[in-house]
Symmetry: C2
Subunit: 407 residues, 2 copies
C-alpha cells in the first residue's frame, strides 16, 4: 500500500448531537395503536367509533371556518370559547377556574410528558399508584424520577400506605415532587376512590408539600352512583394539578387535552411546550361543536353506550371466566380489571388468547416493578357488544386451557 | 411578643421545580399575533383570509370523518396519505423522500424549536443570517447557542463571509452545529439566493460537517422567474434538514409543518416532541383537502393574489417613499424590505407611523446584534390592496415628517 497523506477524520452528522440527544430514548407506549393487528382486541382504551359525532363535527367545522375565517385559520391564539367551556364544566363541579388556570395541550399525554420537565431532577421521588397508566409513568422514569409505588385496593390508592411512605421519606429528608393519581374510574383497575380517601389524599399533599397530579381522563363517563368531588375541588391550597382530555368524551384523534392548576405552574409547563400555544383551527372547531349543549348530550349517549358494554362484559365474565377469577365492577370509564388465581399467569395467558385471535393487557404492563402477572385489563370501550361476548368467551377458554396445561 | 414554638418553614409549590424550570423564560415571539390592536398593520406575515378555502376545508372534513371515522377520530398515527403528498411534492423538486425522512409537526416552528434540543449544548456555535427570522433564532439563543451572524446582500447570505467564518472557527477548533438559512423569499428581506451561492452553501456544509437548516416557508409562492433547486435537492450527503409548512400555502391556524432530513436526525427530533406524533384528525383533513390537485390549484390562486399585492406595494412605495429609500423587489413570499437612508431611523419611524394608525416591523426586530435600524420589513400578505396603498402612503408621510423633524 502506498502511503497516504494524513487526512482529517470524516465528519459525521452524529458528532453534532447535543449531550441530551446522544442516546436514542426507548419508544414510549404513547396512545394505543389502532387494533388492526389483532382481529379482536380488548387490550387498549380506544373510543367506540360507533358514536363519533361525525355529522356534528363536520357542521361545526363548516360553521367555524365560514363565520370567522381569520380567527380560525390565521395565526392567533386558541379559541377563548373553548377555555370558557372547560371553565364552565369545572364550575359545575365546584371549581372556580379562571382562564389563566387552564392550559390547552395536544392531548392530556402532552401535559403528563411536560410535567417531569418542570418538576423532576434526576433522582427526585415521584409517587405512583400500583397499578397505573404506564404511558405517563414511563416518561417520569425517563426524566430520571425515582418511582415509589403505593398499592391500591378496591377503593383505590391505599392512603395509609401513602402516609407511611411520605412520613418515612420525610424522615430521610426527602420531599417527593408529585403524586400521580387516577382517582376516578382508574386506569387500569376501573376503581373510584371514595370521598374519605380523596380528602385524606388532598390533605397529605398539602401537609407534605407535594403536588398531586389528578389524571381525570374518564371522570365524565359515570354509569352508576353519584359523582364524587374531584381532588381539585377538595383542594383549597393549590396542591392539585388536574389533567383532562377530550379523548374519551369526543374523540382521541383530535388530540386535545388541558390542565387546571396554579398559573405559575402552567406557565412553566408552557415553557417546555416548545411549539407554543395550541392553534386556533382545532380549538374553534371543538368549541363550536361543544356549544349549545351538544357536548353534554353526547356525553349522555356515551354513558349509556359504555354502561351497556361494561355490563355485557361483566355478564360474560361471570358466565365464562373460572369462578376463582375476581373481577372489580367499575362505576364508569373504559376498563375492567380481573385478578387471576395463583395458578393463572397473565403473561402465560397472552399467547393462548392470541391463538384464539383475542388480545388483552397483562397486568405487568401496568406496573414498573414486575408485579401484575396476577391480573389482566379488559377494555370494553372499543369493541361492540357481540365482539365483547366473543372475546371474553375466548379468554375464558384460554384460562381453562392454561389451567389444564399447568396441572 | 410571646415566644412561638419552632415551626417548620411553610412548604411552597415553588420549591418543587426542577433546575431547568426554576427561571421563567422570556416569552418568545412565536407566530405573529392577530393584528387587531393596530387598525392597519403591515408588520406581520399573516395569511390573506380572503383566500382561505373554507368551503373545501369543510367538505374535506366532512368526507374524512364520514368515510373513515375510526382512522380519523380514534387513537392512531397521522395520515399516511399526507406524508405521501409531501413526498410527492418534494419529488417534483428532485428530492426522493421516503416516509422515514419526513416528520410532521405542529407548525414548522415546532421543528425549529426542537432543533436546538437535539443539536445545541450551551456555548455551541450556530450560524444565522443577518437579518433573519427571530422567532426561530431567539429559541436557539435560549438553549445556549453562541450566534454568529453572516451578512446578507441582494443575493442572500454572503457565502464568502460564511466561508471565512467557517475557516476561522475551524482554526480555533470550533465546529458550528448548524447554519440556519432561508434561501428562498427570505424573511425578512424577500431575497432569493441564486443557484451558484446555493451550491457553495451546500458544499461548505459538507466540507465543514455542519448541518444546514433550510427554512422553506415561502418557496411555493413564486411570482416571477424560474424555481431554483432547494438546498435539500442540491445536497448529496445528507447535510441539509429542510423545514416546510402549510401555513403559507393553506392556513397558519391548522398548525401543520414538517421536516425532511436524515431519519436518525428526525428520530432525535421526535424524542423531544413530547406529545408524540401529530394526531390523525387534522392530518387526514388536510390530506383530504390537498388531494385531487386541490392544493396545487389553490397555490396557483395564492401566487396570483400575492403577486398582485406585492406589485401594489412596490408601486406605492415607488410613488410614496422618499427616493433615497432603497427597496428590494422579491420574486415571491410575503415581505418587502426597504433600506432607509442614514437620516431615517426605523425605530424613530415606528411611533410616527403608529400615530397614523399604521404598523411595520423595524429591522432591529430581525437582528440579534442591534443592527437593523436602517431597514423596515413590510408584509403585503395580510392587508388588501386598498389598505396596502393607504398603509404605504402613511408610512411615506411618516418618513417625511421624521426627516423634517431631524433637520
Amino acid at each position: 500500500m502506498s502511503t497516504q497523506p494524513q487526512e482529517a477524520p470524516a465528519k459525521r452528522l452524529d458528532d453534532l448531537y447535543a449531550k441530551r440527544a446522544q442516546a436514542v430514548a426507548a419508544q414510549l407506549t404513547g396512545p394505543a395503536p389502532q387494533s388492526g393487528a389483532t382481529p379482536l382486541s380488548l387490550a387498549f382504551g380506544l373510543a367506540d367509533p360507533a358514536l363519533f359525532p361525525t355529522q356534528e363535527l363536520s357542521e361545526a367545522t363548516a360553521e367555524a371556518v365560514a363565520e370567522r375565517p381569520d380567527a380560525v385559520l390565521n395565526y392567533g391564539p386558541p379559541s377563548a370559547e373553548l377555555i370558557e367551556q372547560i371553565a364552565t364544566r369545572l364550575g359545575r363541579q365546584g371549581i372556580a377556574a379562571e382562564a389563566n388556570q387552564l392550559l390547552l395541550s395536544y392531548g392530556s399525554s402532552q401535559i403528563l410528558a411536560l410535567l417531569p420537565e418542570v418538576l423532576v431532577d434526576p433522582g427526585d421521588v415521584v409517587i405512583i399508584e400500583g397499578p397505573s397508566f404506564l404511558g405517563a409513568v414511563r416518561r417520569f422514569e425517563q426524566v430520571g424520577a425515582r418511582l415509589i409505588t403505593i398499592p391500591t385496593d378496591a377503593q383505590g390508592m391505599d392512603v395509609d400506605a401513602l402516609e407511611d411512605s411520605l412520613a418515612s421519606l420525610a424522615r430521610e429528608g426527602i420531599r417527593p415532587k408529585f403524586i400521580y393519581a387516577i382517582p376516578t374510574f382508574h386506569n387500569p383497575t376501573g376503581v373510584t376512590m371514595p370521598l374519605e380517601r380523596r380528602k385524606r389524599l388532598v390533605a397529605l399533599g398539602a401537609e407534605y408539600g407535594v403536588l398531586i397530579v389528578e389524571d381525570d381522563a374518564y371522570g365524565d363517563l359515570r354509569f352508576v352512583g353519584e359523582t364524587l368531588p374531584s381532588l381539585a375541588a377538595l383542594d383549597t391550597e393549590g396542591w392539585v394539578l388536574r389533567v383532562g382530555t377530550y379523548s374519551k368524551i369526543l374523540a382521541p384523534g383530535v388530540r386535545l387535552g388541558w390542565a387546571y392548576g396554579q398559573p405559575k405552574l402552567l406557565q412553566r409547563l408552557s415553557m417546555f411546550k416548545l411549539e407554543g400555544a395550541n392553534g386556533p383551527f382545532l380549538t374553534h372547531v371543538i368549541a363550536r361543536y361543544s356549544a349549545d349543549g351538544r357536548l353534554e348530550a353526547h356525553i349522555e349517549e356515551l354513558r349509556a353506550l359504555y354502561r351497556y358494554k361494561c355490563q355485557v362484559m361483566l355478564d360474560t365474565i361471570a358466565r365464562e371466566f373460572p369462578s376463582d377469577v375476581t373481577t372489580l365492577t367499575p362505576e364508569g370509564g373504559f376498563f375492567i380489571w380481573s385478578k387471576l388465581p395463583a395458578d393463572l399467569s397473565a403473561n402465560a395467558l397472552v399467547p393462548l388468547a392470541a391463538k384464539r385471535g383475542v388480545a388483552f393487557l397483562p397486568g405487568t404492563r401496568c406496573y414498573t416493578n414486575g408485579q401484575g402477572d396476577d391480573a389482566i385489563r379488559l377494555a370494553f370501550s372499543y369493541q361492540n357488544a357481540e365482539n365483547i361476548v366473543e372475546g371474553i368467551t375466548r379468554i375464558g377458554d384460554a384460562m381453562r386451557e392454561l389451567r389444564a396445561t399447568d396441572h
